[in-house]
Amino acid sequence: MLGIRPVSVQRPMSALPSVPAGAGPELPRFPFARVDPLAPPPEYAAAREAQPILPVRLWNGERAWLVTRHEHVRAILADDRRFSGRFGQPGFPTVTEARVVVDRGERAFVGMDNPDHDRYRRMVTQEFSVPRMRALEPEIAAIADRLLDRMIADGPPQDLVRAFAVRFPSLVMSALFGSPYEDHEFIIGCAVARHGLTQTPGHAERKARELVAYVRRLVDRKREQPGDDLVSRVVAEHVLPGRLTADEFAEIGAMILRAGHDTTTNMIGMGTLLMLRDPVLRERMRADPLEIRRAVEEFLRVVSPVQFSPRRVARVDVEIAGTLVRAGEGLFLLLASANRDAAVFPAPDAIDLSRPAARHLAFGDGIHQCLGQMLARIELQVAFAALLRRLPDLELAVPFEALRFKDDMQIYGVHELPVRWAAA
């Protein structure tokens, strides 16, 4: 494994730099603040150069390691033998007190190691397969067009986040999953309660349980009246034959609903902003659909909206790039940092459509790599193509400096994106 070695018994431990026991105040406090809203905190680039496995202090005084280089993030995420992803275990790092509660309550496979992870994941993988997503593409495109019809009819100016970026993935998830569209605000509220950085532990826990209970009731309804949707199919294929209990499926369904509503919304908002700020990029995307496909991958790379996941705990003592990480210590795998690693992406801060295909890690890597990534890719391609076609003269309706970014959330994005266009 590149750059990662188990520590042999012969090797003198004292020769390896490690976090000194009892060392406290001198460790930097994580998370860091952004300076540029369109770039990760500057500490990431500094760490990639000087100390790629960086020790930090967390909100509760505990220590954790930040993994900042692409090479090491990939290697650790691929190595589920030596690094555990089980949520809530001792040493599993968190960014808030609420997240501790959320992690302890997580029952879906996102928080499991193998073999359990694969057994559960395979019961829903087919629902997000490439052939299934390709087949859904016309319906996804029709949903985007209907929303833009309405936006255009209502006229400028509008908040693109509210009018499009929230509603579009919500409508797609509703059709795919089988949850009534009118419930999307409740579902988004549950996602926000999980991903916020300022919510109370009690609120986060309550909303997590509410969403699971919601899916559990949906399972009962679909048992009675099956439809052409994910819940009905999984109930028929796995719950009724007894391979999966309704309660287990409720946990998995809650995870899918949350993920499907929040992340794509943020990528549409941020991607649109990047497109509006770069007229040359926008012309290239308009001229060639293949460039939209490449732009989506670059947007995913430079935005990397998932900020404080994935996380792992070392199962054994390992040496990574000369740093000793002891068994039981926690690591944050910083996707946003890995995705700006100049060793893999020359001139990493620039959006470059000629880069070789998707080596970015915005969807993670290893066994936990995003289940819904093909849906996300198709949604983003459809969204930008539809915006370019239907609103060719779209522009920001406020100065860039007036935008509010999601520094208060674990999933990064923009809260509102006021836009205008020449009304017909």
């Binding site: 395979r122 993988t125 397969s129 490439v130 295909a357 066994i367 790599q369 995003c370 890719r377």
Partner: protein
């Protein structure tokens, strides 16, 4: 080059596969996903060399490292 010498040898590990779909996304001529559980299906275990960049990309992107490309049988010396 002709016949087997002009083709790659691809192997997939169904046990490791997590069904992320990266291989089907970049090389649909070679990879598919099983309808029952989304696990990789090798449509063509000996794809032509023209597809090699796509197959290598699929192997590089596979999150479960479940795709192996074996060296093709040696072609005639130059």
């Amino acid at each position: 080059m002709s016949g087997a010498a002009g083709r790659l040898a691809v192997r997939v590990d169904e046990h490791r596969c997590v069904g992320a779909g990266q291989c089907v996304w970049v090389a649909p001529q070679v990879f598919d996903q099983r309808a029952s559980d989304g696990v990789v299906v090798l449509r063509d275990p000996h794809p032509p060399h023209a597809l090699e960049p796509y197959v290598r990309e699929a192997a590089a992107l596979c999150p479960a490292r479940a795709i192996r490309i074996e060296e093709a049988p040696p072609s005639a010396p130059e």
